[in-house]
Symmetry: C2
Amino acid sequence: SRSYKIAVIPGDGIGKEVMPEGLRALQAASQRFGFQLELEHIEWASCDYYAAHGQMMPDDWKARLSDKDAILFGAVGWPATVPDHVSLWGSLLKFRREFDQYINLRPVRLFEGVPCPLAGRKPGEIDYLVVRENTEGEYTNLGGVMFAGTEREIVIQESVFSRHGTDRVLRYAFERAQSRPRKQLTVATKSNGIAISMPWWDGRADAVGQDFPGVRVDKQHIDILSARFVLQPERFDVVVASNLFGDILSDLGPATTGTIGLAPSANLNPERRFPSLFEPVHGSAPDIYGQNIANPVAMIWSAALMLDFLGERAAHDAMLGAIETVLAQGPRTRDLGGRASTTEMGTAVATLI
Amino acid sequence: SRSYKIAVIPGDGIGKEVMPEGLRALQAASQRFGFQLELEHIEWASCDYYAAHGQMMPDDWKARLSDKDAILFGAVGWPATVPDHVSLWGSLLKFRREFDQYINLRPVRLFEGVPCPLAGRKPGEIDYLVVRENTEGEYTNLGGVMFAGTEREIVIQESVFSRHGTDRVLRYAFERAQSRPRKQLTVATKSNGIAISMPWWDGRADAVGQDFPGVRVDKQHIDILSARFVLQPERFDVVVASNLFGDILSDLGPATTGTIGLAPSANLNPERRFPSLFEPVHGSAPDIYGQNIANPVAMIWSAALMLDFLGERAAHDAMLGAIETVLAQGPRTRDLGGRASTTEMGTAVATLI
Ligand SMILES: CC(C)[C@H](C(=O)O)[C@@H](O)C(=O)O
Ligand SMILES: CC(C)[C@H](C(=O)O)[C@@H](O)C(=O)O
């Protein structure tokens, strides 16, 4: 029978509270659809681990994970004890880069039962996919400070875009667009202000687009694109963006559907040379940790994206259906105006699967 | 009597349609408040000029403008004939840099009579100021392409932040925050991903903040900050951001108040060594040019910001009051669900002044 090796990393904060609900849903799906999950529970890639060991992960983290089919991740970051850039560059961003998870896929969708912050929008009107480049671009530690500590201080920060890295994310986005009914791709840019990399990025979109004559392409500057996520969300189908722009759009998009507590993400190495990683977008949320009130949907949806990637499409669909039903009918956590605990909402979803 | 020298540059597209309405409002204000405006009408800094001369502005543009008290600007850009990065780097971005207009100030406000895309929000609930750094940061043409045209192509794009440039915009934002009732400053950052410049930027915010113990400071990553512009706009008072982040936030903010057709901006050299520039945020909007349907409010509001900067506070307030009344009572242009022309709406505002 089908069997998958999964590394389970709760991480920090509410990551530890939502992970059990992700696992509960997975277990229900594995029973119903007849596949096995070999779970390995991992305590590292967390700020607790950092407190004890002075680093986020053991030195041999890569070897320990490389036989896994996927990594299910909760959240990382506990700024009260470890600065964010230390915890993130020491774990999540390492995974993304060293496992070459070059696609960060974030579906944005308005559900029934979730109050929409946009006036008069109905489920079905917001339903698009943000495809974010996940390994290079604006996220670098290249550059430096000159005249440090003096009045003349100057800081250079370098962004790095490769044709290799850019073409593959564009190609993936074109493919996704081509497989959807509307076949429409929005390319985020800022070629009018960021004068070297962004005109070049536009050129790569043109070049890769040659192979996809059936896809309608629309380049939009990130400023007006952000505005349109609010004003005309029904216009979007697939949106592809650089690391930074994708980061912004994939928080903004979910916000327009009510809460980033629902938003899942898939960090993919599509060629499966390395394990892919699935995690909620919401982060560790220190402000609500410890109360068992975090919304578990983003975690469960991320687990569903994992099953989809592993080839268990029917299980993915069943999980998403269960999420839809619970969002529409309750029980709901506080962020959605309900009173259910994380456990109650997670159990309700698992029961429906 | 008080007299001001103003350069009037309509630029491209709807810039040419809204400018007359800005001038009409200014004339009404000058009559009522007893100051003079010496207007110089300028055809360059436009793509029409580029078509005839192969450059956006005459070589001596700086000398021709340097005796002006301010520049009133419509919009620039006509991508069908001149690529955006050419038209913008050849005009608007030159003004911002060579006249050291280091503050880009963009008020965000929800008006009565303007349908809000956010559900259940009332005028008064959205009322904040975006202070954007306007001369350096992510907008550069530094960097280059290696292995150009080959599979191995690598592009470096450099951002440049100086202590000089960063501290002054932070200081300006702190001062604005201190003078407002809520005394609250949000600092946009991305120190968890952009690992050199953004942690440094956070450090400068801390350093400059030492002088403003009465201001409450809150650093937020640009991704979640964008989400909160949608989910909790009532939280914001003054928001300070780098060039790129400010660009995004100052389109997104106005979008949440209904239309970027209303949003004004002031490009300020606060020390008045060089003329400051006032322009609508909306741009040249080729898609609606020629129909006289553009909303003139952003232009008129920009002109009001100009008078405020010149010391004519009462005139500014009267213009803003007239805008408020017309937005609440009509006539309204199409973007607001009305049928008025640009001229009709502009005339209505001028009449009330
Ligand atoms: C046109 C463009 C270069 C400009 C910018 O990004 O600064 C515009 O979007 C603005 O916000 O004034
Ligand atoms: C925590 C941070 C480094 C991360 C990112 O910016 O990529 C997060 O915001 C995300 O979107 O996954």
